[in-house]
Symmetry: C2
C-alpha cells in the first residue's frame, strides 16, 4: 500500500472501492492466527537453529500434535526450514528461512510490546 492512500472524510463513499483492503489476508496471516504460531517463529528466531525438543521445552504446555502441525504449516509456508540429520538418535533442526527472518523481525517487537504491558487488566 502506498502512503498517498490517505483517508479523508471524503474517502468514505469510496470505501468499498479504492481503498486498501486488508481483508484478503494471505495464507501467512491465516497461519499466524493459529495457536502458538507467532511464538514459534520468534522462538526459532531466537534460538536458531533449534531442535524440536527445545521448542517443545520452551512451551511447556503445548501438545506435540499441535506443535508439530504448526511447525509443518510454517515450514510449508516457507517461513521455516527443516534440516534432518540421519543420525541415531535422530536429530532435526529448525531454522528461519530468509522470509522467516523478515517475518520474525516484525513479530519480535509485537511480542515484546505485549509482554511489556503485562497481563492487562482487560
Amino acid at each position: 500500500m502506498s502512503e498517498n492512500a490517505r483517508a479523508t472524510a471524503e474517502g468514505v463513499d469510496a470505501a468499498s472501492e479504492d481503498r486498501t483492503c486488508y481483508c484478503p489476508l494471505g495464507g501467512v496471516m491465516d497461519l499466524l492466527s493459529r495457536n502458538y504460531a507467532i511464538q514459534v517463529i520468534c522462538v526459532v528466531g531466537t534460538l536458531r537453529p533449534v531442535r524440536y525438543g527445545e521448542i517443545e521445552a520452551t512451551f511447556g504446555e503445548v501438545s506435540s500434535s499441535t506443535l508439530s502441525t504448526r511447525l509443518n504449516e510454517l515450514t510449508e509456508a516457507g517461513m521455516l526450514a527443516r534440516e534432518r540429520y540421519a543420525e541415531i538418535p535422530p536429530r532435526v533442526e529448525y531454522d528461519l528461512t530468509t522470509d522467516g527472518e523478515e517475518l520474525c523481525e516484525l513479530l519480535l517487537p509485537l511480542l515484546r510490546w505485549v509482554e511489556d504491558r503485562g497481563p492487562s487488566e482487560q
Copy 2:
C-alpha cells in the same frame, strides 16, 4: 518504507543468549489471533476516526456479528475507543486508544509485508 527494518542477523543472534519464554501469551495476543482482529486495528488506524459502516464496507465479506464481536473485544482490551453520538440516525465512531496506536504501529508493517509477498508464494 522505514529504516528500522535493518535489525539483521545481529539482533537475532544477540537474543540467542536469553531464554525468554513467549508461551504465556497475554490476552492481547489471544485477541489478535481472532479472525480479522489485526486488520480491524489497521483499518481503524488508517481511517480514524471511522464509523462502523465504513469498517464493514472495508471488509466486504465479514458478518456483522463477527465484526461486532471483534470490535467489542478490542474496545474492552483498551485498543479501541468507541464514541457514540446521540443523533438520528445513530452514529458511532471508532478510534485507536494510545495503546491501540502503539499496537497499530507494530501491525501495519506486518500487514504490508504480507501484502508485498502476495499470495503467489508457493
